[in-house]
């Protein structure tokens, strides 16, 4: 990819709003954000301090928004932002940040550091300083429709498989259904049991739903690489499909960043509110269960814990539904020391798992999760994000740990009142 410094600076400049200005004005360089970031705690490398990853953006802000900054540039006391800075910071901005948002929770002056890194990536993407892995994923998402290259044919094959296993028929392109379900490529390729579970639950709860052949992919590489244009295009496909089918709700799958993309960023990307609502699958399941439409029976006794996907919980606000649901299906649910909005990231969010270059670092910082799990001593880890799940599984394998990872929706499906009573997590 070619580099365009001027374009990058212009893009970065356009990202500086009141929030960013207030945040940079407030930072006193206390260093506490480092203590919240798994890339720092697991490597002790000070360059992984969250606010340090924002140096290019801070310098641009200083040059353009502060008296001293303008003054120092004029006098030649400080060097203006250069192409080399983009090159030097690329690794810090993409490989060592999962946009997990933990630093934003601990900053004493209240800076939302993650918000700024998301914005900084817009500048880096425009300047062409992005990891090849993410470039390719974005390219595939724009051309093929999925970052992993999943086509409609692949989905149809997976759905046929699901139909055979469950004996249910999956409604495609049904006009006027209440809910339109989205999936992430990861689920289609690696975890088709998620689709199976959703089908079974919806059948049991008599939910009117459908899948669009035009837009079934929920993930959005655009928000990971930091390209508004790509993100808008990808969100736009879903919006068009949902509005043409006339559905009331679009269901965001377990995948974390997909939820952030479609729920929180989407309307701002396309510049208008949707004509439908976005609901996360966990919110929907919890709602169905509370309304009594989803009947669950039996409790899994295996001690288990929940890994909060950052984008769903901390950055998404779906905090209680997974805990409600776990309480209904498991008797041995225990929380890790840092959980909910203060959970530790798996290490692969924010596009890091799609960035092959970052694999070594990602496996290294997985130590944080390992320590959490070892402190708790629980062998079953429930999560609600396909990306977290694959990253966790890789980390567990890499560290030779004896821990099983399962999806929450599947766990719920196993406890459907109508389903065979013999279900247990261990048998999966």
């Amino acid at each position: 990819m070619s580099h365009d410094f001027a374009k990058g600076v212009a893009a970065l400049e356009s990202q500086i709003d009141s929030r960013v200005a207030a945040y940079f004005s407030s930072c006193v360089h206390c260093g506490l954000c480092a203590e919240a970031c798994l890339f720092y705690t697991e490597t002790q490398d000070p360059r992984y301090t969250p606010i340090y990853k924002l140096e290019p953006m801070r310098r641009l802000w200083k040059e353009q928004h502060t008296f001293w900054g303008k003054f120092a540039i004029k006098l030649g006391l400080s060097k203006p932002l250069s192409d080399q800075d983009f090159a030097d910071w690329e690794e810090l901005v993409y490989d060592s940040c999962t946009l997990c948002g933990r630093c934003s929770m601990v900053c004493p002056v209240g800076n939302d550091i993650t918000y700024m890194i998301r914005k900084e990536r817009e500048g880096f993407a425009a300047a062409g300083y992005t990891p090849p892995g993410l470039q390719e994923a974005t390219h595939r998402a724009l051309t093929i429709g999925s970052p992993m290259g999943v086509t409609l044919k692949t989905l149809q094959a997976a759905l046929r498989h699901v139909e055979r296993n469950t004996g249910l028929s999956i409604p495609m392109d049904r006009q006027g259904a209440d809910y339109m379900a989205l999936f992430s490529s990861m689920e289609v390729v690696n975890f088709p049991e998620y689709i199976e579970s959703v089908a079974c639950i919806f059948d049991a709860a008599r939910v009117s739903w459908t899948i669009s052949s035009q837009a079934f992919e929920a993930t959005n590489s655009g928000i990971q690489i930091g390209s508004r244009e790509a993100a808008r295009e990808i969100v736009g496909r879903v919006v068009d499909a949902a509005e043409s089918l006339g559905v009331k709700y679009v269901i965001s799958p377990e995948c974390g960043h997909a939820y952030t993309a479609i729920r929180w960023e989407g309307p701002n990307l396309i510049g208008r509110p949707y004509k439908f609502e976005i609901i996360h699958i966990l919110e929907l399941l919890d709602q169905l269960q509370q309304e009594g439409r989803l009947k669950l029976s039996g409790l899994t006794e295996t001690p288990l814990t929940f890994h909060d996907p950052c984008q769903i919980v901390r950055r998404g606000g779906v905090i209680e539904p997974p805990r409600d649901l776990l309480g209904k299906v498991a008797s041995g649910f225990v929380e890790m020391a840092d959980h909910g909005e203060m959970n530790w990231c798996c290490g692969g969010g924010g596009g890091v798992s799609a960035n092959e270059r970052a694999e070594g670092l990602r496996l290294k910082v997985f130590d944080r999760k390992r320590k959490q799990l070892e402190a708790l001593g629980v062998k079953t880890l429930v999560t609600a994000c396909a990306n977290c799940r694959i990253v966790l599984e890789e980390g567990i394998e890499d560290r030779d740990m004896d821990v099983e990872v399962i999806g929450l929706t599947e766990l719920v499906a196993e406890h459907l009142a109508a389903a065979p009573a013999a279900s247990s997590t261990g048998s999966e």
Binding site: S18, R19, S25, V28, G110, P273, M342
Partner: protein, 213 residues
């Protein structure tokens, strides 16, 4: 002669630089603008902003353990400085005479001294931490050290003038305080005011998402 300058014109000049500079900084933050959030919120942003404004005074458990030196020293310094800046008898008298026109109850002398000592302990530890910890070493710029240094010198000169018997010592304290006021709007000392914006913005955004930030 110099004394008159420090006590009169320079005081008003530094006060003006401080006031105008601070307002300009706040204006330049607001001028950058915030786009309205079109995503339907779970809860109101206002409540989230207000909650975050206060909840950030309490550190998160995990970071409170890992960064306890920063937190303890930070609290000692900020609370001590606040108490002695606004509630030491000489300061109350000075502010009443020069700015507000009315006074308010001041701390007893011993409490003033204790708050000064706590502030010194906090500031020294924070400064040393800044110089020694790899993270803060990497982050700290000249500005951070000038800001810390000026605050330290103002506090030190104030403590040297405690006897309130020597005019030159009072003038030295006042002069350094004036330098601090002039430097203030150009530096990260601005966090004194902008932290309200930061916490508010973040709190509002997280509040809309239904997260207690």
């Amino acid at each position: 002669m110099i004394g008159q300058l420090i006590d009169g014109p320079l005081w008003y000049f530094s006060l003006a630089v401080f006031g105008v500079g601070m307002l300009y900084r706040l204006y330049s933050i607001l001028r950058a603008g915030v786009k309205p959030d079109l995503a339907p919120p779970r809860a109101g942003g206002g409540a989230g902003a207000l909650r975050n404004l206060f909840s950030r005074f309490v550190p998160r458990r995990d970071v409170a353990t890992r960064g306890r030196l920063t937190l303890i020293a930070g609290y000692l310094f900020h609370l001590g400085l606040f108490a002695l800046l606004f509630f030491a008898q000489p300061h109350v008298d000075f502010l009443a005479e020069r700015i507000t026109g009315f006074g308010w109850p001041a701390l007893p002398y011993w409490a003033f001294i204790i708050s000064a000592e706590l502030a010194f302990v906090g500031l020294l530890l924070l400064w040393l931490h800044r110089l020694l910890h790899p993270v803060t070493r990497l982050l700290s710029s000249v500005d951070d050290h000038i800001g810390t240094g000026l605050v330290f010198l103002v506090m030190l000169s104030g403590c040297l003038a405690l006897a309130q018997a020597f005019e030159p010592l009072r003038l030295l304290h006042l002069f350094l305080a004036e330098l601090l006021l002039i430097y203030f709007p150009f530096s990260s000392l601005m966090h004194t005011f902008t932290f309200v914006f930061s916490r508010g913005y973040t709190g509002a955004m997280m509040g809309r998402k239904g997260v207690n930030a």
